[in-house]
């Protein structure tokens, strides 16, 4: 009995004085996929994001992991985020896709790498409304466009859709959030760039600093 009591007392004493030693935990999966999403967004925010630039950021990740190891699945940049061609007339859709191929544990069995895919979609639909706006001593022709803007992240570990907030780079544009991913934009025609026949582009930025192309046609909006 005394022995048992002594043992129990010793265990309690040990528990109270036990000090923790730092350990580095190795992580794959969720954190790596989220890290790749973050890097792709940062690359897009920098402006022109080439495959080389994105691969350089992934190399930085490996380099930094040697300092603070986060064991990673082998990762390849399959597609850098170059906006695809504008599709449609009204609405006009621009899809910007980044794809990483990751050799996960499943790859060991199937031989096929898995994907981390970042899709940024902008849908611009012109309304019939055109109005004037005076800012300082200038008067602008404002073209109203309904914009749907979303980020979609898919990976073996999570599927997430975000509706980032938008901001204008000047004090002229009008911006109103209609719903989660839906916005009403008053784009100043004089500050928009002509891109092709009768089509204009006005750039906003999302909360991650990524350019958001608002595309519209001058004159009355065509249908379809």
């Amino acid at each position: 009995m005394i022995g048992v009591i002594a043992l129990a007392a010793t265990l309690i004493a040990l528990l109270s004085i036990y000090s923790l030693q730092p350990k580095i935990a190795y992580e794959r999966g969720h954190l790596q996929a989220a890290q790749l999403v973050h890097l792709a967004r940062a690359c897009m925010a920098a402006g022109s994001c080439s495959r080389d630039r994105l691969a350089e950021l992934v190399r930085d990740l490996y380099r930094f992991n040697q300092t603070y190891p986060m064991r990673m699945f082998v990762t390849y940049v399959e597609r850098a985020p170059n906006p695809g061609p504008a599709q449609g007339v009204n609405p006009i859709t621009v899809t910007n896709e980044t794809v990483f191929e990751v050799e996960t544990l499943r790859t060991l069995f199937t031989g096929n790498p898995e994907e981390v895919r970042i899709t940024v979609t902008t849908v611009s639909e012109r309304t019939d409304r055109v109005y004037s706006k005076r800012v300082g001593d200038r008067t602008y022709t404002m073209v109203e466009v309904k914009v749907t803007y979303a980020h979609s992240y898919s990976s073996p570990f999570f599927n997430v859709t975000l509706c980032p907030s938008l901001r204008a780079l000047d004090a002229v544009a009008d911006l109103k959030r209609l719903g989660k991913c839906d916005w009403l934009v008053g784009a100043p025609l004089e500050l928009s760039k002509p891109v092709g026949a009768n089509r204009y582009r006005y750039d906003l930025r999302d909360e991650f600093g990524i350019p958001v192309p608002v595309l519209f046609t001058a004159g009355m909006p065509p249908k379809g």
Binding site: P22, K23, A34, Q35, H38, F64, M70, V160
Partner: protein, 97 residues
């Protein structure tokens, strides 16, 4: 008496374990913060929301810095690139009892 002492030991052990956040939770918290944040400051803010009520510490480091002596045992880190200017930082979150 033996039972009393043994149960006291188990209570103390359980309390200690429940006071710590699991490594998985911390990884997910950092992943969630990375998905939603724009810069290291926001990653830190989101981590404080995700790990509210648990024992954790966060470090924001330059690329060549390391945490000399983390007070908590399990550390997870992320490379955070600030879209404004492209500055790179390492955010480390350490958790444990």
């Amino acid at each position: 008496m033996v039972l009393t002492i043994a149960s006291a030991y188990m209570v103390a052990l359980t309390a200690r374990q429940s006071a710590s956040v699991s490594g998985i939770s911390a990884q997910r918290a950092l992943a969630w913060a990375l998905l939603n944040a724009q810069n290291p400051e926001n990653v830190t803010k989101l981590l404080s929301i995700a790990l509210n009520g648990t024992s954790y510490e966060v470090y924001v480091l330059n690329l060549n810095e390391t945490v000399a002596e983390p007070k908590l045992p399990f550390c997870y880190s992320a490379l955070v690139v600030n879209p404004a200017g492209g500055e790179k930082k390492i955010v480390v979150v350490c958790v444990g009892p």
